[in-house]
Structure formats: structure tokens, C-alpha cells
Amino acid sequence: MRKWYRLDNAGKIFPSVSNARRANLFRLTITLTEEINPVVLQEALNITIKRFATFNVKLKRGFFWYYFEENKENPVIEAENPFIMEPIFSREAKGFLFRVSYYHKRIALEIFHALSDGYGGMQFLKSITYNYLLLLGKDIDSENMILSDIESVREEDQDSFVKNYDSTIKMDRKEQKARHFKGTFYENNWLSLISGKVKEAELKEVCNQYDCSHTQLLVACLVASAYRSQNLLEQKKHLFQVFVPVNLRRFFPSITLRNFSLYVRTKFNIDKEISFPEIVAKVKEDFSEELQKDKLQARIVANVKWEKHFLMRIIPLFMKKIGFKIGYNIFGESANSFSLSNLGKVDIPSSMKKYITAIDFSNGAGYVSPMNMGVVGYNGDITMTFASRIIERDLQREFFRILAGLGLKVTIETNELEV
């Protein structure tokens, strides 16, 4: 009997709403000091996947729900595709819902969001890298930070949403349509990446000046750059809503490797003039209002409630899929103008640090909300990566100019088609 798992509460939606234009992938990369050896990397992946049972699955269709079933194949690494986060076609990937690729010194992991969130993905990529370096005979120690070296426990495949469900809590859910960016789409589903790297210490200084966190400052800069690139915003009365995912493991005890995150939204009326300090203040206010444990739990409950509902459960899958698509159009992508996801600082064992030069994080973009940003910190650097479906890059330009204006030294890299 092969092991099988239900999809977690947040993951349940993704198989129904994903397609070639909206793949719902995210991408994590680790850059090493030397060129990658594909043979060794394949071996490292083979070792690692055995430890990560929740990644070693394929998606299957039940009569009422999708489920994950243990995958007996071996995942195969590939050379990196110039098309970043191209949808994963299950047949070519032998059913696996992630893709490991390499390009010169970089290992990239692209994951379907139904499997895991940024935290879980990072644990997986760190373990692959750890095993890769071990196989190369490097003298490294996991220092209790690499899961490959720690026995797996049942809590890792827990659905922590359901775990924190409490049927006594009540919660209404209201979502408003957001104002979206519009522009000229790239052909052939091309996704452009523009990343900027700043020093954590310099960013910290600016944050102290405004008395806010890194994420809050970056959200404020983003809102300010949206003010300056209004030509890209659709002409509608909706508010400009920035979607910021929150890792719930910070608030609720959980070590799950599956999805366990929610979000906060901060909303601006872009038509009214506003100064930068005022933006920061508004972002801080929205964050502190939403980021309270009882409010977060009320939202977890609202999310879990629908999947526990008797009627919802007995509707056949093909009808559920239609409902999910409609629901996702109302509550999902269209309620976000922009999504800014901060993975925070990645802990790497000190003995491994000298082999790793950079870590990047980016999110696949859809076509309703065509731009987003992934932020991750490693070794004193903070990297912000814009992913975009549209050719115009006013927003990115204004954003990095604002950072430069705040006195930060920014270094930019892109996957631009050379003009």
C-alpha cells in the first residue's frame, strides 16, 4: 500500500485553479562557489527525497478530493530552462510537483504551491545542498539546522490549519477587488526577473530611521513606486492592495513542511497624494491590526470551515473544481494588486556558509496580478526579486530608485532578453 495524504487546507485550492497561464509555482535558488556537477546533484536529490516524504508524491484525483500518493519514481534534475517557472507538466516530471535544475553555480528548486510554502521548500533545498556538498567530500556539519540529518517526525506532514481549527470561533470574510497593473504581456509565457541586492545593515539603518520592520519598509517603498507608475494601473476605483504572506509558524507551534501561511493586506487609495512617512505609518498600522494571534486564528478557522462543511465534502470533485475557480477569482488573485513575500533570513550552518554565495527567492506571476516580489536574506545581504509578466518596468525602476534615494547601494541582476 502506498502512503497517501490529503492536501492541506491552503493547498486544496491550487490543483483546481492552476493552468499553463497560472502555474502557482515559486522558486528558490542557492548559488555555490563552484560549478555544479549534475551527476552529484542527482545523487544528492535521490538521497534527500527519501527523507522528505511530503515532497515524494504525485497528485491523484479522488472522487471527492484530490490527494497525494507516494511516488515510486525518481525525480530527475535538468539544466535550467530559460523560461523561469514554466508550468510543471506532470507526465514529463514523472508526476513530481517540483523541479530541480542547475545553471553554472546555481541550484534552483521550483515548487508547486499545493505541496508546500516557502518555509518547507527552503528546508528541502537546504537539505539537497547539504547532501550535495557532503557527496563532494566537503567538511561540513549540519549543526542541527538541516533536516536531512534529523529523523523525520509525524508533525512534519501535519495540516496545521486543521490542527488550529476551533469551531467556536466566528469570522466573516470580505474581500474587495483590487486595482491591478496592466501592460504589454511578454510572448510565450515569458517571465521576467529583476532582482536587487542590498546590504542588510544599510537597510536596517533606514528601518530604524522610520521605526519599522524590513517588510514594512519594502512594502512602503513598493506603494510609493506604485504612486509614481500610475500609468500602469487600470483606471478603476478599487484600492491598491498589497498582499503580504505571513509564516504562521511564527505564531502557532508547528514544524509542518506543508503549507502553513496566511497573509495581511495593506490598502491604499492611489488617487490621493500622500508622503512617504505617511505611507510607512499606514503600513505599520495595517500590519499591527492584522498580525494578532486571535485574528489570525479566526481567519484559519474561516479557511478550514469550508472544507469541513458537510455539503462541501460530498460534492464530487469535478463540481468542486468549478466552485474553486469562481471562488479564487473573487477571493484570490483579483483581490491583490501586488504580492510581496518575505521569506526572512535563511539559517545556514556556519560550516556551509563558505560554499554558498547567494540565496534567491521569487514567485511565479499570473496574468490578473502580473507582478510580484520575493524577498530573502542570507549572510548580510537582502535580495528582492521582481517577477513580471509585463514588458513595462516602470514599477521596478521607481522601486529601485526609491531604495537608492534612501541611501542604499543596490546591485541589480536580470534575466532580460538581451536587446
Binding site: 500500500m1 472522487f63 490527494y67 518596468r393 530608485r401 537608492a404 546591485t411 534575466n415 538581451e418 536587446v419
Partner: protein
């Protein structure tokens, strides 16, 4: 490393202009990157299935032409004969897509064929105002044949049981339909539907008796709510 004087940012690239504002870049250290940061763009391979597309085209063309000829030359005696072509063409597309192109599980192909063929004969029977030969004789024996085939594959080949069991299940269920129709007096001749129904019930019984954990687990997995 290069620098954009307008954006005041450093840019790690071999480009001559700024990727943000297209201003000319100043070179800081005259060093060239060994390779671009991301793999070079190449035109993606077109993923179209020429075979299936031509099949769709031919089928639709045949449908339109026969419908047209039927309308123009309509007379009482011939009636709407073009419907025979329409339903056959629809079946033809199912055959190509789900049996020839598809690389799915053989049991799935058998069941889809059985259902598609059943629909085809029932529709033809209906258009021809015939005696109900389709659900009296054809459907019971089709379901019997498909259940028997899946059963034989299961017994003779060492394949994963659980992949086939659901298809066998649905094939057996369809085998019961003609008998139910007989109960409601919609089918006049008993023996074909009774044969199919008995066969289905016996196999169901066998599955119940010999059901091991694997079958039960498989059902729980597929039907968990």
C-alpha cells in the same frame, strides 16, 4: 559591474544599457561576466498535436458537409440521416483522443471505449426509431466484455491491483443498468440483461469475499470525503 547614472544603481550585466531605464551604463571595472546570469533565451518548442488537430478538422468538416447536404436534399423518406454521421464522428474523436493518443491506464481506455460505444449505439438506435436493440443486446454484452477483459488482465498480469479496481467497479456498475431498465419494463428481452447483471453481481461478490486490505484502502483513498 556597471552603473546607471540615472537610477543610481549598480548592474551586474554585459548589456550596454540599463534594464530599468535604457540609459547608457558606465563601466566600473571593465570586467565582463563569464556567462549571463540566466540561461540564454531560446524559442520554445511548439507543443501542438498535428495528428489530433487534423482529426478534429476532418471530423468537423465531415459534420458540416453532411449536415448541409442533408438539409438541401431533405425528403420524408430519408429523414435526418446526417445525425448518423454526426454521432459517429463524435465517437471517432473520442476514439482518437482517449484510446489512441492517450497514454493512460488500459483499464481506463477500455471503460471509456465501452461508455462511448454504448452512447453511440443508443443514439443510432434512437434516431432510427428502432426496436431498442442497443440497450437490449449491445450494452449488456459490451459491459460484460469490458469487465471480463479488465478481470482477465488483473488475473494474468502482475500489475498494481489498485489502479484497475476502480475501472472494474464502474464497468460492473454499468452492467447492472440494462437489468434495472428491464425491471421498469423498458427492456423487453430478459436474457441479455440478466446475463450481464448476474456476471456483475458474481464479480462484486467475489470482490467482497476476497477483498483484502488493499481494495478497502484503495476505496477509502479514492472516496475519502
Amino acid at each position: 559591474m556597471k552603473q546607471c547614472p540615472k537610477c543610481e544603481v549598480n548592474i551586474n550585466t554585459n548589456r550596454k544599457t540599463c534594464p530599468l531605464c535604457y540609459e547608457k551604463l558606465t563601466d566600473l571595472d571593465k570586467e565582463k561576466l563569464e556567462h549571463s546570469i540566466y540561461p540564454e533565451y531560446r524559442q520554445p518548442k511548439k507543443k501542438t498535436n498535428f495528428f489530433f488537430r487534423s482529426a478534429i478538422f476532418l471530423a468537423i468538416a465531415a459534420m458540416i458537409i453532411t449536415a448541409l447536404v442533408n438539409i438541401v436534399t431533405y425528403n420524408e423518406e430519408g429523414g435526418w440521416w446526417s445525425f448518423y454521421v454526426l454521432v459517429s464522428m463524435a465517437y471517432f474523436l473520442v476514439l482518437i483522443k482517449y484510446s489512441i493518443i492517450s497514454r493512460g491506464n488500459p483499464a481506463k481506455k477500455i471503460v471509456i471505449q465501452m461508455i462511448a460505444l454504448s452512447i453511440l449505439v443508443v443514439v443510432v438506435d434512437f434516431i432510427a426509431h428502432s426496436t431498442g436493440w442497443s440497450y437490449t443486446y449491445v450494452v449488456p454484452f459490451l459491459s460484460l466484455a469490458s469487465s471480463a477483459t479488465i478481470g482477465i488482465i488483473l488475473l494474468t498480469k502482475s500489475i498494481r491491483y489498485s489502479d484497475y479496481i476502480l475501472y472494474l467497479f464502474s464497468s460492473l456498475l454499468i452492467g447492472l443498468i440494462p437489468f434495472i431498465l428491464w425491471i421498469f419494463k423498458l427492456v423487453k428481452v430478459l436474457w441479455p440483461s440478466l446475463t450481464a447483471a448476474c456476471f456483475s453481481l458474481v464479480v462484486f461478490l467475489a470482490m467482497l469475499v476476497f477483498a483484502d486490505r488493499e481494495i478497502r484502502d484503495e476505496l477509502r483513498k479514492r472516496f475519502h470525503i
